[in-house]
């Protein structure tokens, strides 16, 4: 997508579909401002004609109809005016909410489809600030700032023209003050713009600090680090508060000058107008007309400072929002990606794959080559940090190899459509992430339309049905965020059921049974062999019991495959794997 030239152009782009009704609210704004000038005129007429005027006492008896007409006009006009105000307010709220909705859902969608690089760049609290606080500044822009600009400009221009038309010399002497106010506002803008940038940074830091503390509450308590956390948070709280103060104080530094200049306008009017009257160049009536409308020049001037302040807030916030709005993931579908219509068969092949993280400094995988034929089980073993997890993440194309190719069904994964590729893969990650939803909802995550019996079936496959059944609310039990309330083994089993529930052609298990006891693991192993759909299994595991029956075992050391073969072959080789077997059978004790 082409990035528009300015923030306003971007906002305008996002207002499509609502521009016409927004335009109505602009017209409405002008209309009710005009009517605001009419009602005082009617009241003045009533007072003039029936109370203070020359023939007031007579008029009240002779022109009673006019009297009532004026009263009715006053009541009706007010009603119509307030109705317009109400409709205008509703209109701008409606449009601003629609645009907010549009941008927010767009951003969410955008964030969801980003690659891993994006997620290691942006912190949760920061992204949340962009989708809440920053977006609010954009909403405010539409709901208030633009309307205020129109109101101020319309009022100012109309009155200025009227003034010039009445007496251009007097008008110019009053308007001569306006440029000073403009200069002050420009100076103010230059000062306040960086403040708003800083302010939203501090807000983001505050959000991040609080977010991390809440997520890590267990660790905080385990180490009795409450006071340390409070001190850390206080720092963010203080900085945010100080920046807020500074921003407000910046306004207060310029406010007195703006206010003084705005107040000078009626004084200039009084002095110059007075001199003109004294010299006979102006009538009293003309002078009164000037003073009656001087507020319509003054108020927009006062409002400008406010508008500028809010505009800068919008500007700082929209920078942050647009950054996400226009960020493109590097891992995307190729324009000529192959369209797979059928379920894939499940062949996985690595051809001389090397890999290095973009933010890492050392290569993680070197020259990895292996083939997993459809239906085979491949076990991957190796030391902590040897690159096992990195390897499997290349299959669903979470990352791209720096060299070599990853092929699924003999097609380079780069040439497949991401969603089609991933639909065929079931992955149970090491870091089990469940959602605060029911157990049923969690298992059915990959396929929300799956039947209840199927959910139960997959829970049984992953040896989770027993403990789920024991829970008071069974499958309707809500698990807390990140699956709190469940033990590690229970979480892993639900995550396994979730991966199985999509009936993947390729099942990848990243040490999914590490916290599961042996007996349960055996059960799981058994059901994995009896799945009722064809499935290639790639399993990272530490336990020999898991790897023993694999068609092929890959031993990875420092990012290279050092041993590969069946259990028996590797045992015969007396290498790393053999040692592992020795270790685990526990003969050393």
């Amino acid at each position: 997508m082409n990035k528009p030239k300015s923030k306003i152009a971007w906002l305008w782009e996002n207002m499509r579909g609502y521009r016409i009704i927004y335009f109505f609210s602009i017209i409405g704004t002008i209309a009710y401002n005009a009517m605001q000038l009419v009602v005082p005129y009617i009241t003045a007429k009533i007072v003039d004609t029936f109370l203070t005027g020359k023939n007031a006492a007579e008029n009240i008896n002779t022109q009673r109809d006019l009297f009532y007409q004026l009263i009715i006009a006053m009541v009706v006009l007010t009603f119509v005016r307030t109705l317009i105000v109400y409709l205008v307010c509703f209109d701008v709220e409606h449009v601003s909410q629609k645009v907010l909705y549009r941008i927010r859902t767009y951003l969410f969608d955008k964030i969801e489809r980003q690659d891993m690089k994006f997620y290691s760049t942006y912190r949760t609290g920061d992204l949340m600030t962009r989708l809440t606080g920053d977006l609010d500044a954009i909403r405010h822009m539409i709901a208030w700032v633009i309307r205020s600009i129109v109101e101020s400009v319309a009022l100012f221009v109309a009155t200025a023209i009227y003034f010039i038309y009445m007496d251009w010399r007097l008008a110019l002497s009053v308007l001569a003050i306006a440029p000073f106010i403009f200069i002050i506002i420009i100076l103010f803008k230059n000062k306040v713009a960086p403040r708003h940038k800083a302010l939203r940074e501090k807000l983001s830091l505050l959000n991040t600090a609080a977010q991390e503390n809440i997520s890590g509450n267990r660790v905080v308590k385990a180490f009795a680090r409450e006071e340390y956390e409070i001190a850390k948070f206080n720092e963010c709280n203080t900085e945010y508060s100080q920046t807020n103060r500074k921003t407000a104080m910046t306004w207060l530094t310029y406010y007195p000058y703006i206010e003084t200049f705005a107040n000078l306008m009626p004084i200039v009017l009084l002095v110059v107008g007075g001199l003109f009257i004294i010299n006979g160049q102006l009538t009293m009536g003309e002078y009164v007309a000037f003073t009656g409308l001087i507020w319509a020049i003054q108020n927009p001037m006062r409002q400008l400072g406010n508008i500028m302040n809010e505009f800068q807030r919008f500007s700082a916030a929209s920078d942050k929002v647009m950054e996400i709005y226009y960020s493109e993931p590097e891992i995307v579908d190729h324009p000529d990606a192959i369209d797979l219509t059928e379920r894939i068969k499940g062949k996985v092949e690595f051809k001389n794959v090397s890999f290095q993280y973009a933010d890492g400094k050392l290569p993680v995988l070197h020259d990895i080559s292996f083939v997993a034929n459809p239906g085979e089980t491949i076990a991957i073993m190796g030391e902590t940090g040897c690159g096992k997890t990195s390897l499997i993440q290349l299959i669903p194309r979470f990352y791209e190899p720096t060299e070599g190719e990853v092929l699924v069904d003999d097609i380079n994964v780069k040439d497949m459509k991401l969603h089609q590729l991933r639909k065929n893969i079931g992955l149970a990650t090491q870091d089990v992430l469940l959602y605060s939803d029911t157990i049923d909802g969690n298992i059915a995550f990959g396929d929300p339309h799956i039947k209840q019996e199927e959910v139960v079936k997959f829970a049984r496959y992953s040896a989770a049905s027993d403990f789920i059944a024991k829970m008071p609310e069974g499958y309707d039990t809500i698990v807390g965020e990140r699956g709190v309330g469940l033990s590690g083994g229970q979480k892993q089993r639900i995550s396994l059921a979730r991966a199985l529930a999509v009936k993947p052609a390729i099942l990848i298990l990243d040490d999914t049974t590490s916290a599961v006891d042996m007996e349960t693991e055996k059960q799981i192993q058994h059901s994995l062999n009896e799945l009722d759909f064809p499935c290639t299994k790639i399993i990272i595991a530490q336990r020999i019991s898991t790897t023993k029956f694999a068609d092929k075992i890959l031993v990875i050391q420092d990012g290279r495959i050092t041993e590969s073969g069946t259990h028996d072959e590797l045992v015969a080789k007396k290498g790393y794997y053999y040692n592992l077997v020795q270790l685990q059978t526990g003969e050393e004790a």
């Binding site: 009241t43 009533i46 109370l51 009240i60 006053m74 007010t78 009603f79 109400y86 709220e93 629609k98 969410f108 964030i111 290691s120 949760t124 949340m128 809440t132 959000n207 609080a210 977010q211 503390n213 809440i214 997520s215 267990r218 660790v219 308590k221 385990a222 180490f223 009795a224 956390e229 409070i230 709280n237 508060s241 406010y255 206010e259 004084i267 009084l270 002095v271 007075g274 001199l275 933010d359 050392l362 990650t429 090491q430 992430l433 959602y435 605060s436 939803d437 403990f467 807390g480 033990s487 590690g488 599961v516 006891d517 042996m518 592992l580 077997v581 270790l583 685990q584 059978t585 526990g586």
Partner: protein, 593 residues
């Protein structure tokens, strides 16, 4: 216990009346009362200065200009400038004071809510999405500050203004004043109706925003899961629905809020019309003079201005009380696990741990531990084995008093742990949880979390003990490597090693390892074990592990099943017993062999 909350459900809140909240908010205002009164006085003086303006202008028009007195005109202009400047200075000073006051109030509330959150037990965090807690600390607190500072001052100013006008009006003519005041009951009825609608509507806004925040946070954290399950479309749709609900509730709320101002405006015009009509009819009967009608008409206009301002402030109150009550709700959240009133400091722990008839359940529906009793001698290492969900983690959580027991006692060195301060207890324990949470920051920062004043050597020693030193050094920045929040940098096993080092660094008297090494490969674990054995010497330790090779050297093995101890003894004893443990062990060996 209520059901766990999710993004799908609104949080319940039972608060019938809101004046209570305002009174309560007074606690935060009290500290700044002096400053606020000073600001109030400045505003009042500024207001009075403003009254001179029209008088001086009048003088110029009536006197200086008709008499062609240029000098007087200039003097009067000078006087006008003076009153304006004084007014501006006063307003500026008031604003300066109030900015500080309102920022201080926000700071205080936020500090309180955060500090309170630190005291809340696991249960609190387990029962609701974290996004819903977060929105209270950050977004809600921001919303309420203006109401508590400037809102309050303006209420007082406008009320004073109103009272003066009413007094003036009554002095002029009681009957016509009553006509003006007749608008008040109409207004009151209108506002009462509006308030009810509005309050409900703003509560909904806060609910829906809270739901949105919850979903947002969970999905940012779980983006990888979304992608692997190709759930982007569905999730976007859910998020769209949540966003749309926010939009609708907001529109409904402003639909009511925006009625306030036009409502008052219309009522004020009806009243003015009534004044004209009644006044002129009375005038016909000779009861009222012309001047009185003119005066009452102009007072009536001025009478409604402060009311309109008060209406706006009122709107603001109603809106923000929806947030304020959520803040207070959090502050009121009972600290179920807290220091007893006469809590003492836990003396240096020797390491004897005793459970005395402990019964425990997370909620009423299911008892996790039943009448559990056991004693562990100082320096003993105890392994807890048994099926997942049997209650092993629960037992170790109770030793650190993460939860309160329902009945029975947990004693350390003969001291009931519910009678000592949490800080003194937990700071002597080293607990490694299943979920190895890594903070964003450097690797060193993360290890140092266990002992804030640790030297570099201590950190390196701890890392060496847990075999983390080598892989840390392999990073280009070594210990200074930045670990990003959800970064791909560390594998799960590496995270466990780092949190292991963190735990060891805290030099605990009692060490708890809850599946601490599950993601670490067997060889690394072996190496780690050797370092660990030296560390464990003389410390009481509790180890939960499924890998039996990890635990068979423990002094005591407890087989936990169904909330009780099914078997207890050394590895050899239990094997000889040919019970659960034997079964478990042989199964494991068979598998491998």
């Amino acid at each position: 216990m209520a059901r766990r909350n999710t993004y799908k459900e609104d949080e319940v809140l039972e608060t019938p009346f809101e004046v209570r909240h305002l009174l309560r908010a007074f606690v935060y205002i009290k500290k700044y009362l002096g400053k606020m009164i000073f600001a109030l006085v400045l505003s009042a003086i500024g207001g009075i200065m403003g009254l001179f303006g029209p008088m001086i202008t009048q003088h110029a028009l009536d006197d200086a200009i008709p008499n062609k007195n240029v000098e007087l005109l200039l003097w009067l202009a000078g006087a006008l400038i003076f009153t304006f400047v004084v007014g501006v200075i006063f307003t500026t000073i008031r604003s300066r004071i109030m900015i500080n006051v309102s920022q201080n109030i926000i700071f205080d509330i936020r500090k309180d809510i955060f500090e309170h959150l630190q005291k809340l037990p696991f249960q609190y965090y387990d029962d609701r999405p974290h996004g819903k807690i977060l929105i209270r600390v950050v977004n809600y607190v921001n919303s309420v500050s203006d109401m508590l500072s400037n809102g309050l001052i303006n209420v007082i100013l406008e009320s004073l203004n109103l009272i003066f006008i009413v007094i003036f009006m009554l002095c002029v003519d009681v009957k016509l004043s009553l006509v003006v005041l007749a608008g008040v009951p109409i207004l009151a009825a209108f506002m009462l109706w509006l308030k009810k609608k509005q309050r409900r509507a703003w509560q909904q806004v806060s609910n829906k925003n809270s739901n949105l925040n919850a979903y947002l946070q969970e999905n940012i954290v779980g983006a990888r899961i979304t992608q692997i399950f190709v759930r982007e479309d569905e999730n976007s749709e859910t998020f769209g629905t949540l966003s749309d609900r926010c939009r609708k509730t907001w529109l409904e709320a402003v639909m009511y809020s925006n009625l306030m101002w036009p409502g008052i405006d219309n009522i004020s015009v009806w009243v003015r019309a009534a004044v004209f009509i009644v006044g002129l009819i009375f005038m016909g009967t000779g009861n009222v003079s012309l001047g009185v009608v003119v005066a009452i008409n102009s007072y009536s206009a001025r009478f409604w201005q402060p009311i309109m301002n008060l209406g706006n402030i009122f709107n603001n109150f109603i809106n923000n009380i929806a947030y304020l009550e959520r803040i207070f709700e959090t502050l009121d959240e009972p600290v179920t696990v807290d220091d007893a009133e006469d809590a003492i400091k836990m003396p240096d722990i020797k390491g004897e741990v005793t459970f005395e008839n402990v019964t425990f359940s997370y909620d009423e529906s299911k008892t996790v531990l039943k009448n559990l009793s056991f004693t562990v001698k100082p320096g003993e290492s105890v392994a807890l084995v048994g099926p997942t969900g049997a209650g092993k983690s629960t037992i170790v959580n109770l030793i650190s008093r993460f939860y309160n027991v329902n009945s029975g006692r947990v004693l350390i060195d003969g001291q009931d742990i519910s009678k000592v301060t949490l800080n003194s207890l937990r700071s002597q324990m080293g607990i490694m949880l299943q979920d190895s949470f890594i903070f964003s920051g450097t690797i060193e920062d993360n290890i140092r979390y266990g002992k804030l004043d640790a030297t570099e050597e201590e950190i390196i020693r701890a890392s060496k003990t847990v075999c983390a030193h080598d892989f840390i050094n392999r990073f280009q920045d070594g210990y200074q490597t930045e670990v990003k929040e959800r970064g791909s940098l560390l594998s799960q096993g590496q995270k466990q090693l780092i949190s292991f080092a963190r735990t060891l660094l805290s030099n605990p008297a009692i060490l708890v390892l809850d599946e601490a090494t599950s993601s670490i490969d067997v060889q690394t674990e072996r190496a780690l074990q050797q370092g660990l054995n030296a560390m464990l010497e003389g410390r009481t330790s509790f180890i939960i592990a499924h890998r039996l090779s990890t635990i068979k050297n423990c002094d005591k093995i407890m087989y936990i099943d169904d909330g009780g101890i099914a078997e207890c003894g050394t590895h050899e004893e239990l094997l000889a017993k040919k019970g659960h443990y034997y079964h478990l062990y042989t199964a494991q060996m068979e598998d491998i062999a």
